[in-house]
């Protein structure tokens, strides 16, 4: 084996051991799983609801990281998919279809089609043009939702209740719904992890580093990027299904460009291209937002500059800083 062990990339060798990141995510999931128990001791009933919201946004941020961190696709219209998922629930439930599986299937199909059509066009462009065109498609579907007067238009619409599963009202309680969201988050995290490490993921990562090299060995990056875009859109739609159920409300605001920006911030805040980062990022973002809004109603004046400082001085986001700190300690 080579003497230059410092140069050896950790990812290159098949390893069976737990990395720092594995431990971090296991701890995060464990703490999340215990949240309803912890909340029982305090009077903070809102904690479970708050963490449910965090997990739902974490799922959406995770899907954005899949295309942003591993495919270099900076989508500024990712909230559109969350909105599509939410509207699938809203529209179907307005017509009396309350089954979660049917609603989820509809959300996945609608988001896949939207991702396929918009992705095929967006991926013809690169860099800042890709950002702008995804933003444009996001706004397009936003205004479509605003114009849906039968489904509340600008004001959105309230749902009659949470979705049911085979007629059973399993998720009406706060805690069961919390665990549904947690199960989805863990499932999606493991799915994304598998995708990134798979043959498909390796081509996607290669195309991010050097698309010309990938073409020269026989891959057409476009097909892989488009597929990743569709997968990410479908996952974000799943987050939308959960979000509509949690809030009991569906509105065009879910797919406003500001929401897309927030998803980007969550990913960047936590650490791009890490999968764990977006989960941590969603948690940090929403908790900060919550805490700061208690202090002053002008909390965005503090929040905005704080985020900018973090992005400027903490390269790699929270996970990057954590890795640096733990590296220093180990060294």
């Amino acid at each position: 084996m080579s003497a230059a062990s410092a140069d050896v990339s950790a990812a290159a060798r098949p390893s069976r051991g737990w990395t720092g990141r594995d431990i971090a995510i296991a701890v995060v999931f464990l703490l999340l799983a215990l949240t309803p128990l912890l909340a029982r001791f305090g009077a903070e009933g809102f904690l479970v609801g708050m963490m449910t919201r965090v997990m739902i946004y974490a799922i959406a941020a995770l899907s954005l990281d899949l295309i942003l961190g591993y495919g270099a696709m900076v989508s500024f219209g990712h909230a559109a998919f969350v909105g599509i998922g939410a509207y699938a629930v809203g529209i179907l439930s307005a017509h009396g279809v309350n089954d979660l599986l049917i609603q989820t299937m509809a959300a996945l199909i609608a988001s896949a089609l939207f991702a396929l059509a918009t992705g095929a066009l967006s991926l013809r462009t690169k860099g800042v043009y890709f950002i702008m065109i995804t933003l444009a498609f996001g706004q397009m579907i936003f205004f479509l939702a605003v114009s849906l007067s039968a489904y509340g238009g600008d004001d959105g619409m309230s749902l009659s209740g949470r979705s049911t599963l085979f007629g059973a009202n399993l998720f009406s309680g706060v805690t069961p719904f919390f665990y549904l969201a947690l199960a989805c988050l863990i499932g999606i995290y493991l799915l994304c992890r598998a995708i990134v490490a798979s043959r498909f993921g390796r081509v996607l990562r290669g195309a991010k580093e050097n698309p010309t090299r990938m073409e020269a060995i026989g891959f057409s990056p476009f097909r892989y990027q488009l597929t990743a875009y569709v997968i990410a859109g479908m996952i974000a739609a799943l987050a939308g299904v959960l979000l509509a159920n949690q809030t009991g409300f569906v509105s065009p605001a879910y797919m406003a460009w500001q929401r897309s920006g927030e998803l980007l911030m969550m990913v960047i805040l936590g650490g791009v291209g890490t999968l764990v980062g977006p989960i941590v990022g969603a948690l940090a973002f929403l908790l900060l937002e919550e805490q700061l809004s208690h202090i002053t109603q002008h909390w965005k004046m503090i929040f905005g500059p704080f985020l900018i400082l973090l992005v400027l001085f903490a390269r790699g986001g929270i996970l990057g800083v954590a890795a640096k700190l733990s590296g220093r300690r180990d060294g």
């Binding site: 290159a12 598998a194 390796r202 290669g206 990938m214 073409e215 020269a216 026989g218 891959f219 597929t227």
Partner: protein, 250 residues
């Protein structure tokens, strides 16, 4: 030539008024090492770009083993056995050397639309990649991140990647560019080993290497092939001496 593996017929390319390929025709027989030389700006890299499919040609045709590939994009040509290296090193710097090569093996081996199972742990791909790395002389450096390899090692890595695509024709764009004396000797030795096993189109500035390796040499000046022949023919050709070798040969 009827039995040519790669043949180019009156290929043209211009950027506005600037003609970079002017009715270029050439053939490469199986196992032949065909070198392309010419002064800077003669259109050598453009020629490689057009042969590999990175750049479209304005007119003319390219065929591989009798099949017209003029309109095929680069990935499709790569899958048909046209592998290339780049003048400016083009690798995946964040991947290990092994994974750089394993990806090339993966491109040939079945579908890459597989979403489960860690690609880095596929023994068949890794074994093939290891074999190509050893062949290029990089066996010891398999697990090193490609970005931190020395320049010469990166040139060899490009060669290993090309070999792992199991090519029929190798298009090598200045494999010696930027290498030091020792490194260039190592790469030249590798090329001598590969010669005969693949048809090779070699664009190179290093005349010593070209005349030592080439079966035939074509001289490109202002996008035009002004002469094709054995190294001896080219050395003796007066118009070549005038256009290109002038100062060096004098």
């Amino acid at each position: 030539m009827a039995d040519a593996l790669l043949s180019v017929d009156r290929m043209n390319k211009s950027y506005g008024a600037l003609v970079v390929s002017d009715s270029v025709s050439l053939t490469v027989a199986p196992g032949e090492l065909h070198a392309i030389i010419g002064p800077n700006g003669a259109g050598k890299t453009t020629l490689i770009h057009q042969l590999s499919g990175l750049l479209p040609c304005d007119s003319g045709s390219v065929s591989l083993a009798g099949e017209d590939i003029t309109r095929l994009p680069m990935p499709e040509r790569a899958r048909r056995g046209l592998a290339r290296s780049f003048q400016i090193t083009s690798i995946l710097p964040g991947f290990s050397a092994l994974e750089n090569v394993a990806l090339a093996a993966q491109a040939r081996d079945g579908s890459s639309f597989r979403f489960f199972g860690a690609a880095a742990n596929e023994p068949a791909l890794n074994e093939e990649a290891m074999a190509a790395l050893r062949e290029a002389g990089l066996g010891q450096r398999a697990h090193v991140r490609a970005g931190v390899l020395s320049h010469g090692e990166k040139r060899l890595l490009e060669l290993a990647i090309a070999l792992a695509t199991k090519p029929r024709v190798l298009l090598l764009d200045e494999p010696l560019a930027g290498t030091g004396k020792d490194e260039s000797q190592a790469v030249t030795r590798k090329l001598a080993e590969l010669k005969g096993r693949f048809a090779i189109v070699l664009v190179e500035h290093d005349m010593e290497a070209v005349f030592a390796l080439a079966d035939r040499v074509s001289v490109l000046v202002y996008g035009k092939v002004i002469a094709t022949g054995t190294p001896q023919d080219i050395r003796g050709n007066p118009s070549v001496r005038e256009a290109y070798l002038g100062e060096e040969a004098a």
